[in-house]
């Protein structure tokens, strides 16, 4: 740890201030720059023929009629592209035993999920491409599909990759202490439940989109890409299309929602890039909404059989569960689809001091769309299982759900420590956040009110969750497994001739406000006003190398790199100023765009200094060669992740006649370390909670037994809308992480990770007096009525 420790207290620090986001002006004028807004000379459009069945053998493909459509420029089958694209395999070397088959951008010989791209048509317009695609005839011989993940491992299940012998992709067991002995104790109460979590998906409002241009004169590929990890995609395009990495440029300008959907390798996007290279002209592919539902990664499909044992005093004696999850026919490249199950093993029960723990996960192949990382990877399952079992156990032993948490949560002064699940934890505040939550929501008054209302036939419920969230991943996550995913990020800051500064960072902006917080950090640490900072992100050609934005790492990693770079630039500028002003650099400061004495007396403007260096170097000593640009990189060391924690609560009202649930209130108290901009953080948390509400009550990718996606439209797949959503009360506890000077952890995923658990607990609180419980998400009215035994 290095750098100044007083930057947060300086009068010109903007860290912690709710400043406005400069980017919003553009977006509110309709001047955003999304990928589909791009029109390039000679640009053509890609459309895809997709598998109509979940599993089948491609017998033949007839392209004659499609080729005859005026405006069709090229048609490619899987075999055509196989000569031009190196196959990809989604495994990481540190996840022992994980296996996946080589994948190609278009199916070759066999189709393995409904929606898998089979043929690409490139035409003068998207409409013509679709016209022609409709005339392609793909003769597919049906093969029996393995769609049900619980049955996919049975001996008579169809095997999706015959070479593998069965459909098991990966299995891992974590064990600590002696859970069997703890469950067998005669002084414990055991609660056992089966939880089911439906498949859902990100539904980014801007669908996946890319415009890829290839210049044969220099062998360069430029991809305008709606994505979160430009440098990762640079590597992937280069490796799999056979290009020098330095010849590939990925530009991610405005990105219309991502949530983890846009950090993966999709066949239609690789095919688009291959077509651009083969045709030597720009090719655009923008997924339509049906394509998004069928092929954007899905998440959360888990069945968990869980058990908890608690003593009469409410101490957790043991926690154990078995998780089974279906990931589709391949492990997604390059992050792998086993990560979600792995996180569930790591995170379940991790807020609690428990000694006896066993968790097993089986990750299975199935003939449905691929599953992979989506916002709050694994967290909703981990939190719902642990806190669902815990609240049920509390009721069984007659203890309040807050009290049982207080008896089990790791003490705030117990850090650093290692959880039973093997996670290194530090700087957490479970008790402080829970206390603040109880105070904010007026817990006791709510309980009394609910009891009184229940007597009048009004069924309300309260549910809580205490959670941890994975943020700021270190290289010990993907890097160790051989994936081209940077966990370090860089920031370059230069002094402009006009006295402004320009920040160029490898973290990316998808609406979180990344560019704003980088500007806040740089402005305050360096010493200029916010409006004198320009920020560039999302361009592999002009930004330092880094990982982009995922796993809530933009502020904690990109922000720290920016802080360090701003500090370094300031030292450089003061060195020059010392010579010009014949003063000691340490006697000078930079405040509001001016070099000042320590007492604030202005000596010269930054513009004067920069113009002297850039234009009038003759005024400087000949042995002085100033650098007014500084780059710093930062990565988390010592810890695999920097965890945050939160306590959340939901209040719902249940109509037992209809099964409808109204969310009356939601409270979230998060400790994301140092809050850089509360206005942005609060709405990040709220947006996260809303996605969590979606998972809890609305969102589900419904498949038929034979693998047809039955609700793949926005009219049929429900997401939270304004009318049904509550106002959400946010409060903060700030425990800065000691891993950085900035002290910022991530804040993007806690709501999505925690809300479903709180909501399920709240519904069960309301159902309990009616003799019913539900452990399946989404908690649809029908499922609630089933739980009540009325349908």
């Amino acid at each position: 740890m290095s750098g100044p420790l007083t930057i947060f207290d300086k009068p010109n620090s903007l860290i912690g201030k709710p400043v406005d986001r400069p980017d919003t002006k553009r977006l509110l004028q309709g001047r955003g720059k999304f990928v589909d807004d791009i029109q390039l000379p000679r640009m053509v459009h890609a459309g895809f023929v997709r598998s109509p069945v979940a599993h089948g053998r491609i017998v033949s493909i007839d392209l004659d009629e499609a080729r005859a459509v005026p405006g069709v420029i090229a048609i490619y089958t899987g075999a055509d592209l196989a000569d031009h694209v190196e196959p990809y395999v989604g495994v990481l070397s540190h996840m022992a035993g994980l296996r996946s088959a080589p994948q190609m951008p278009l199916a070759v010989d066999t189709v393995r999920w409904t929606g898998e791209p089979v043929v690409m048509v490139v035409a003068s317009s998207r409409a013509v491409a679709e016209d022609a695609a409709a005339l392609v005839f793909v003769d597919i011989e049906d093969l029996p599909p393995a769609t049900d993940m619980e049955r996919a491992l049975e001996p008579d299940a169809p095997v999706i990759h015959p070479d593998f012998g069965n459909n098991l992709a990966w299995e891992r067991t974590v064990e600590a202490g002696d859970p069997d002995a703890a469950f067998a104790r005669d002084d414990v109460t055991v609660v056992e439940r089966t939880f089911r979590f439906g498949r859902h998906t990100g539904v980014t409002l801007e669908t996946r989109a890319s415009v890829v241009d290839y210049d044969p004169s220099e062998d360069t590929l430029t991809c305008h890409y709606s994505g979160q990890a430009p440098h990762m995609m640079q590597f992937i395009f280069a490796k799999h299309l056979g290009l020098p990495e330095e010849n590939v440029r990925v530009i991610s300008n405005d990105v219309g929602g991502s949530f983890g959907i846009k950090i993966h390798t999709y066949g239609d996007e690789i095919a688009t890039a291959a077509a651009a290279k083969l045709l030597q002209r720009p090719v655009k592919f923008v997924a339509d909404r049906l394509e998004s539902f069928l092929t954007d990664i899905h998440a959360r499909d888990h069945v968990v059989h869980g058990r908890i044992a608690v003593t009469r005093e409410g101490e957790i004696a043991a926690l154990a569960f078995d998780d089974i999850t279906g990931i589709g026919p391949y492990s997604m490249y390059p992050r792998t689809s086993a990560i979600e199950a792995n996180q569930i093993l790591n995170l379940t029960g991790a807020p609690y001091a428990l000694e006896n723990y066993r968790a097993n996960a089986k990750v299975v192949f199935q003939n449905k769309n691929l599953m992979c990382q989506y916002r709050a990877v694994g967290h909703p399952i981990a939190m719902a299982v642990a806190d669902g079992l815990l609240e049920e156990a509390a009721h069984k032993i007659g203890m309040d759900v807050v009290e049982i948490r207080r008896r089990n949560l790791v003490k705030d002064d117990a850090y650093p420590c290692t959880s039973a699940t093997g996670m290194k934890l530090d700087d957490l505040s479970h008790h402080k956040t829970l206390d603040k939550l109880i105070e904010t929501m007026d817990y006791d008054a709510k309980r009394s009110e609910h009891a009184a209302l229940r007597a009048q036939g009004i069924h309300r419920g309260l549910g809580l969750v205490s959670m941890i969230e994975v943020t700021n991943p270190s290289p010990m996550f993907y890097g160790i497994g051989g994936a081209p995913i940077a966990s370090q990020d860089g920031s370059t800051i230069r002094l402009e001739a006009g006295g402004a500064i320009h920040v160029s960072s490898s973290v990316t902006e998808q609406g979180q406000g990344t560019n704003t917080i980088l500007a806040q950090i740089a402005a305050g640490v360096f010493g200029v006003a916010m409006d004198r900072v320009k920020v560039t992100t999302g361009d592999t050609k002009t930004t330092p190398y880094g990982g982009g934005t995922w796993a809530s790492r933009g502020a904690g990693i990109g922000g720290e790199a920016t802080l360090q770079a701003a500090h370094a630039l300031k030292e450089q500028v003061l060195d020059v100023a010392g010579v010009i002003l014949q003063a000691k650099p340490e006697a000078l400061d930079i405040v509001d765009g001016h070099i000042t004495d320590k007492d604030g007396t202005q000596r010269m403007s930054l513009s004067d200094l920069a113009r002297t260096v850039y234009y009038r170097g003759n005024e400087l000593p000949s042995d002085m060669t100033p650098e007014l640009v500084a780059t710093r990189h930062y990565r988390v060391t010592d810890f695999p992740f920097v965890f945050t924690n939160a306590a959340m609560a939901a209040e719902i009202e249940l109509d037992p006649d209809t099964g409808f649930v109204k969310i009356l209130n939601f409270w979230a108290v998060e400790d994301c370390g140092r809050v850089i901009n509360p206005k942005l953080v609060d709405e990040q948390i709220r947006g996260g909670v809303i996605q969590g509400i979606g998972g809890a009550f609305y969102e589900e990718c419904i498949y038929s037994e034979d693998g047809q996606f039955e609700n793949a439209t926005m009219a049929d797949y429900l997401v939270p809308m304004a009318f049904e959503m509550p106002d959400i009360t946010i409060a903060h506890v700030e425990t800065p992480t000691k891993t950085s000077v900035l002290g910022a952890k991530g804040a993007g995923e806690a709501g999505t990770g925690g809300a479903p658990a709180a909501l399920m607990n709240a519904v069960n609180d309301a159902l309990r007096p009616l003799g019913a419980q539900i452990h399946q998400m989404p908690m649809t009215p029908e499922r609630i009525l089933e739980a009540l035994g009325t349908v």
Binding site: G256, G257, G687, M714, A722
Partner: protein, 156 residues
């Protein structure tokens, strides 16, 4: 299918004439032919509201209306709201009522319709009015706050 028809529309105060495919929807015409890319396409079946824009004084879904149906009409997109939306824009910035900004042009159109229609600072009514517009990033709360701010500001 290449049938085309020539249409004439007034868009953001300027008259445009073009031969459009009869099957082309209005938002594709505005985006691809006129280069007005502020209106976005989210679902192409009238559910998400990202393409909401104004035709002859009514807010419509640009993906559910054919360009030929706009022949002779006056169309206003986010690029053409001008001062009408300045209070809402300021409130959206102040409240951070947008994140990725993709839904924002449609959301702003629906909010403008509510405010200009004389809607009150009633959170439930605002939420109901905006319930045809998906926002996947915010919690909607900041959008409701922004609309309330404008209404209460105008009332004072």
């Amino acid at each position: 299918m290449t049938d085309t028809q020539t249409i004439s529309v007034t868009v953001n105060g300027e008259t445009a004439s073009a031969a459009v495919p009869v099957r082309q929807n209005l938002v594709d015409f505005l985006r691809n032919t006129l280069g007005l890319t502020g209106s976005h396409v989210g679902c192409e079946h009238g559910v998400c509201g990202a393409c909401t824009l104004e035709v002859d004084g009514a807010m419509v879904r640009g993906c559910l209306m054919l360009a030929v149906q706009a022949d002779g009409a006056t169309v206003t997109t986010i690029e053409g709201y001008g001062d009408r939306a300045s209070a809402l824009r300021a409130a959206f910035i102040d409240r951070n009522a947008l994140q990725c900004g993709y839904c924002t042009p449609g959301m702003l159109a629906s909010a403008l319709e509510y405010v200009e229609g004389g809607g009150g600072a009633d959170r439930a009514a605002i939420r109901e009015h905006l319930s045809g517009n998906y926002c996947r990033c915010t919690g909607y709360q900041s959008i409701v706050d922004a609309v309330c701010d404008v209404i209460e500001g105008e009332g004072s």
